[in-house]
Amino acid sequence: MVFSSSVFLFAFLPAFLAVYFLMPKRAAKNIVLLAFSLLFYAWGEPVYVWLMVFSIGFNWAFGFAISKSATPPLRKFLLVADLFLNLLILGFYKYQGFLAENVNRAIGEEFIAELNLALPIGISFFTLQAITYVVDVYRGQVKAQKNPLYLGMYIAMFPQLVAGPIVRYSDIEAEIDNRRATLAGFAQGLRLFCVGLGKKVLLANTAGTLADSLLPREAAEIGFVGCFSGVAAYTFQIYFDFSGYSDMAIGLGKMMGFDYPRNFNYPYTSKSATEFWRRWHMSLGGFFRDYVYIPLGGNRVSTPRFVLNTMIVWGLTGIWHGAAWNFVLWGLYWGVLILLEKFFIMKVLDRLPGFVSHIWCAVLFFFGWLLFAVTGLSNVAEWFCAMFGAYGFTGTSTLWELQSWSYVSLIPIFIVGSLPWAPWLRKKLQAWAEGDPRRAVMAAPAKGNEAVPPCQAELAAPAASPARARAVLAVNIAVDVALLAVLVLSAMSVVSSSYNPFIYFQF
């Protein structure tokens, strides 16, 4: 099940909210959340729910055993065993086909059978979440969860199950037993949910229509315009899709009283590859930093080892995204760029005007998405050449049939949607209302890892005048009306996406 479907919006979500908030006690709410999460998970692939239950069971058992064990070697053995089991499951379901294909190709015969397994939904996310739990228990950073149902609730929690953010157990440990669902939190969460739904349905899906029509085609067929607009459309699609889904997850969490970490912070405003990855899929970057990079020695090692550690992390980041060489190459691409920036380019970038750095970063993520989106390395090479005119302006197609032109009016909307104008305006408004000229001047896009800001302007100090307070109220009401309009428009789009005229009438 996906959030942007009629059955989620009009059946699952209202049913869940009704049952959840009818439960008087925290324990009952937790059980309801677990039950609905398992139902959510089982919806599309019922058989894999047992895999989820197994994962919950053994991670709970290992976590509990580690916490009860006083012997360091035994603790380490239990940790390694748990990690092995988690990675074995992930590797089997996600990489079996990739491994078989490459091994068989290398030795020229079918040495490993390709099982063509369906990928269990969210396995990449819930496996990492389970690992953070067990590792943190081993490190003594969190207490082992005694109740397997509560751990199950954490691992299977439906808001972030499918597409993140990767919530560490430590992020919500306290909230499992002591969270407060308030009207303000509920309203804040649903506002964020509307923002995310709008990003996903209205922006990502629209950009995706163009990307999906161009990306499977050959570069010679679509030329410069087709390849450029295909990657550009994908650039917007993946951002709005992924960040929209994260916003919806964080919003749903807030409605229940959970504070999930922020996952995206306007990555397309970055000035370098290094900054980009501090703003893009922040929970994944944090995971690899704390559970791979630092255990490998981090940057407190020799330069060759540092380079090796960095490339290991980025190689893993790449292959985590998918079982194909494209993704490995994409990960290594970012690793190399980050190393180049650290040792050489950053010194130059720091001296250049800001807009040059923005262009540098835009070129990097644009070609990065080319590696990510176009399947097959030879296709990637052809698309790369097409970007420099190797197949003419429109290849063997005409401009009209590429259809890229029909999206031109949406480009400003996509660009504006990727920029932090909303938090900037909100800070301006707050500073103006509070009569703080210093803050108004300094108001700037937020940076770094922080909680998702609210969708409303909230004054920290009394307003400078009643008129200014009324102005803030009017803006907040307008924002609410706009968000509810986005909800309605998104729902219309969701309903339309399922339109399928009866074949009977097609002739």
């Binding site: 009207l183 303000a184 163009l210 005409t398 339309s496």
Partner: protein, 420 residues
């Protein structure tokens, strides 16, 4: 802030609860809801809706087989109020964005929504389909049809074979988008291939009226449907009479049948989610002595005029062509008899729904006409053309269809031209 939060939360929850409440009201409280609030609302657009019993698969077994999920999905879809308005407005919003983009490019055609295969032609206020690609593969499969037809025609030298090619918008030169695409497959390409059959078999004839200008085209074709209207069929029939040397003296265009108050939309409107709402006008065919029998008798032979499939609040009627000329049953196997024929022969008419209007004209010349509608959906009749000919005892065999139908025969019916 508190009041605002409460209002926002309430509106949000009521919005989410809407479809479920309507479903409960209809199925459990047995309320007779206005059609706008039920699945009936969009049936005129989608062609129907699937009724499901949610309890039928409400079991672990049903869930494991994902049947319950499908049922719930359908139930939710059926419970969306104002679904037709939602579908049309959502497409209209996307079309506005596309039209705004087109202001820069000034193309003569643009998609009815993002990803749509239907295109809007502003100058003609009409809908068409994006022109067909894959010229090579379609040419090749049409050549296979020609090979089969030549073999069958040569094996039946006492019978006449006619091919009538309808200039459907996706292959017509009258579609302004025809010259905006590369590698397109056109009616001209199809006719060029079919001409070989005429050259290599003396008992094969070919008729095709092709159009170059949209104004001319939309006199003979509906503006929101892929079919020709009665005037298009009549024009092709007149050309056929000339080619075949037939001498039907009936006056099929003496009067025009108007349908006051009825505005129609066709398959392009349905798939393109854009209503054109055109007025229907058809020639009054002279059907004296002609009767039809079969699984679904078309309403044209009923004296009171057509029976309409849907007369919704907006006054739109979909698929007027099918309703009027009668191929609503896509696998209809009709027999049309004529008590005052110009010949004592029998005809076999096959291929696609363009034949719906045409067979009433062809039937004027024959004592008995067997109509196979639609060949691509025909899984029940004899599997080979020769079998059909032998079974019907036909003296003349007609193929009436659009260019893609000719290209499709040997793939949907690989055995069609097999000889006994």
């Amino acid at each position: 802030m508190k009041v605002r939060n409460a209002i926002v939360a309430t509106v949000f929850c009521l919005f989410l609860l809407g479809p479920m409440t309507l479903w409960v009201a209809q199925t459990h409280w047995k309320l007779d809801l206005p059609s706008d609030l039920t699945a009936e609302d969009s049936t005129y657009l989608s062609g129907g809706y699937e009724e499901v019993d949610l309890l039928e698969h409400f079991s672990l077994k049903g869930f494991s087989a994902e049947k319950f999920q499908d049922d719930l999905n359908t139930t939710v879809e059926n419970s969306i109020p104002y679904r037709a308005v939602i579908l049309l407005q959502n497409a209209a919003m996307q079309r506005s964005a596309i039209a705004a983009s087109n202001a820069l490019f000034r193309f003569e055609a643009y998609p009815t929504f993002f990803g749509s295969e239907q295109i809007y032609l502003p100058a003609s206020d009409a809908l068409a389909k994006i022109p067909e690609h894959a010229k090579k593969s379609k040419t090749k499969s049409t050549e296979e049809f020609v090979d089969g037809l030549i073999a069958t025609a040569n094996a039946n030298p006492d019978k006449q074979f006619y091919m009538v090619v309808a200039d459907q918008s996706d292959t017509s030169n009258a579609n302004p988008a025809a010259f905006l695409v590369s590698q397109r497959y056109s009616t001209d390409d199809c006719v060029k291939v079919l001409e070989r059959a005429v050259a290599e078999a003396s008992n094969v004839r070919l008729v095709s009226i092709r159009y170059d200008q949209p104004e001319e085209y939309y006199r003979d074709f509906y503006r929101s449907d892929h079919h020709w209207n009665g005037y298009g069929a009549l024009r092709a029939y007149n050309a056929l009479q000339e080619v075949a040397g037939l001498s039907n003296r009936r006056d099929n265009d003496a009067e025009t049948v108007d349908f006051p108050g009825i505005i129609t939309n066709g398959s392009y409107a349905r798939k393109g989610l854009m209503l054109i709402n055109e007025s229907a006008r058809e020639p009054q065919l002279d059907l004296t002595g002609i009767e039809a029998t079969g699984p679904r008798i078309p309403p044209i032979v009923e004296p009171d005029g057509p029976s309409l499939i849907h007369d919704d609040a907006m006054g739109s009627v979909f698929d007027f062509y099918s309703t009027w000329y009668g191929s609503t049953n896509v696998t209809a196997d009709l027999t049309v008899t004529n008590s005052t024929p110009t010949t004592d022969q029998k005809a076999l008419i096959a291929m696609d729904s363009f034949g719906d209007a045409f067979h009433w004209l062809v039937a004027q010349d024959y004592r008995d006409s067997q109509c196979v509608l639609d060949l691509k959906n025909d899984n029940e009749g004899p599997e080979t053309l020769q079998g059909r000919i032998d079974d019907s005892g036909a003296d003349a065999i007609y193929f009436i269809g659009n260019p893609l139908a000719y290209a499709r025969v040997t793939s949907t019916h690989p055995q069609y031209f097999d000889r006994p």
